[in-house]
């Protein structure tokens, strides 16, 4: 039996209350996704009188949800794989080589994080327009394929790798590339899981990128499709809107519950220091 101290009951009470406040919006979303449109309008707060799956079935006729899921998975996966590779290459150059100016590059990377991203929105858009990159997948992938924050996190992790492993490999005659791919990357695996999750989540939830650059409906991402659906038919097809919202939100929550340790590490990477 687990015994709980008396003064802890108050804390558990508050934590349960806080959990209800945090989870209620999701509960509201799920119950509404099983109602008919009229019921959502008239009794938004009650449980459905008659559980209906109409929203879930019809939303697939309204939009090509499968394609949109695939687009989003493709973009987010590409960004994550490239970003993990490139960011750890840079971290490797800074931590594990004798390159002159390592301090300078690290400072440059760190100070670039202080520049608000909004500064680059208009000029990058104009660049992309000139390069004819508007309405392509690469406009959402290439600019996200490396990030200062990830380099910073990976530098912290890379510092913990003992140089003896690298020296041993060098003595065996391994090239720097071999060392990077066969020694360093495998040892970075837990760190890459953390950095990867953060990057994947950022790409998955990206709003501004698709809003500015994607024009074709066949290239939409989940967030943009959801936004368009909501703004194209205000107040219409409500059961489909709720069904779609639920289908987008619930898988993410499931993945989060399985990988929560990595998620939490990703967010505290900088905080604990």
């Amino acid at each position: 039996m687990i015994r709980i101290k008396k003064q802890h009951w108050l804390i558990y009470g508050s934590l349960i209350l806080a959990s209800i406040v945090v989870l209620y919006p999701f509960f509201f979303m799920i119950i509404n996704s099983f109602k008919t449109g009229a019921e959502i309008m008239h009794t938004p707060n009650a449980l459905p009188t008659d559980w209906s799956f109409r929203g879930y079935i019809e939303v697939f006729n309204s939009i090509n949800l499968g394609r949109i899921f695939l687009n989003t998975i493709f973009i987010a996966t590409s960004v994550t794989v490239l970003n993990c590779l490139f960011s750890s290459m840079v971290a490797f150059a800074i931590v594990k080589t004798n390159m002159p100016g390592r301090e300078f590059w690290l400072k440059l990377i760190l100070s670039s994080m202080m520049i608000p991203a909004i500064l680059f929105t208009i000029p990058v858009y104009m660049m992309m327009y000139d390069w004819n990159w508007v309405n392509t997948y690469r406009v959402l992938i290439i600019p996200g394929s490396i990030s200062a924050y990830n380099i910073f996190l990976l530098v912290q992790f890379m510092k913990q790798i003992d140089n003896a492993y690298l020296e041993a490999a060098r003595i065996d005659g391994a090239s720097e590339f071999r060392i990077f791919f066969k020694v360093v990357l495998p040892m970075l695996r837990p760190a890459l899981a953390t950095v990867g999750i953060l990057t994947f989540m950022g790409a998955w939830n990206d709003f501004m990128g698709p809003l500015l650059y994607i024009r074709d409906d066949s290239m939409l991402t989940l967030q943009m499709a959801l936004f368009k659906f909501q703004s194209d038919v205000p107040g219409g097809k409500l059961e489909q809107l709720w069904a779609m919202t639920t289908m987008i939100a619930v898988p993410v929550v499931f993945v989060f519950f399985f990988l929560q340790k990595n998620f939490i590490k990703a967010f505290t990477g900088v905080g604990v220091k």
């Binding site: 945090v22 000029p123 720097e176 519950f257 604990v272 220091k273």
Partner: protein, 293 residues
């Protein structure tokens, strides 16, 4: 041998050098150049030099300053509210062990939810017929439902409450990390001296997690002042009838992508970045006061 090693090291550094030149340095110069031009990306042949015209226009534009006021108004409420919620949650989670990680996970769920999903749910929750207002009317807290999006003073505080729900989890996790690293003997010594719970929080916990607090404030300034999706999804590009939800980034979007005034929009971006940067530096200066190193 030495040269060869350096050459390889620069090869590893290459992704950053390219990214820095192409996506940071060049756009920065482009942005600066644009701010002196009247330019439209769709017909660049009509570009003309306007000198400080854009800067004067933005600096004397009441709407730009209103948008800045709006977002600061929002941030003051958000920072205070989310700080209190996050710190309280972190202190509570630190007290208990049984099921602590389950509660921590649950309280973090809004953070991993996409802003689009969260905004759609929130729009219905806060609607005049939604559960929040219905129960407030039911318990007599409100006389009648409020159309908050069309009010002059309500949009920013309401969004601040929403953002606190959405983001307190990040701060909570960061504070938890800080609290966990505090040496337990400090609390034991304080207990021997008969210090109350409140005194232990204000005299030990808060000073010891100062680095985490500074970090949280810094990311709040940088991210918070660039608020966009929250207002873009639920308001028109003017930010409602009183421009009450007009934020600087919404204004930049409206200027650049609706009116196609890229020069003026670049100026807004530069000015906003400068303001954010100054505020961040001021905040770091203020919070580092009293530090010995």
């Amino acid at each position: 041998m030495k040269f060869k090693e350096n050459w390889i090291a620069y090869l590893f550094l290459m992704p950053w050098i390219l990214y820095f030149l192409v996506f940071l340095l060049y756009p920065f110069f482009l942005s600066f150049q644009n701010s002196f031009l009247d330019i439209n990306v769709l017909n660049p042949e009509n570009t003309r030099f306007v000198g400080l015209g854009n800067w004067l226009m933005v600096a004397t534009d009441a709407k730009f300053w209103l948008s800045l006021f709006n977002v600061l108004f929002n941030q003051i409420i958000f920072v205070a509210l989310s700080f209190v919620i996050a710190l309280t949650a972190a202190l509570m989670l630190n007290e208990v062990t049984f099921m602590a990680s389950l509660f921590r996970t649950i309280l973090f769920v809004p953070v991993i939810t996409s802003i689009t999903v969260a905004m759609i749910i929130f729009d219905f929750l806060a609607a005049p017929t939604g559960p929040i207002q219905s129960s407030m009317v039911g318990t007599g807290l409100l006389d009648q439902p409020v159309f908050w999006k069309f009010e002059q003073w309500l949009p920013m505080p309401v969004i601040a409450v929403f953002s606190s729900w959405k983001w307190f989890g990040v701060q909570m996790i960061i504070f938890l990390g800080g609290i966990a690293s505090i040496n337990k003997s400090l609390y034991e010594a304080a207990e021997l001296d008969g210090a109350s719970w409140w005194r232990k929080v204000t005299c030990i916990t808060l000073p010891m997690i100062k680095p985490q607090i500074v970090f949280v404030l810094t990311i709040n300034i940088i991210n918070g002042l660039q608020m966009f999706v929250e207002v873009f999804m639920n308001f028109d590009l003017q930010g409602g009838p009183y421009n009450a939800a007009l934020t600087p980034v919404l204004y930049l979007y409206q200027t650049g992508f609706e009116q196609m005034k890229m020069g003026q929009a670049s100026t807004i971006g530069l000015l906003l970045a400068l303001i954010i940067y100054t505020l961040t530096m001021m905040q770091l200066k203020l919070t580092s006061k009293g530090d010995n190193q």
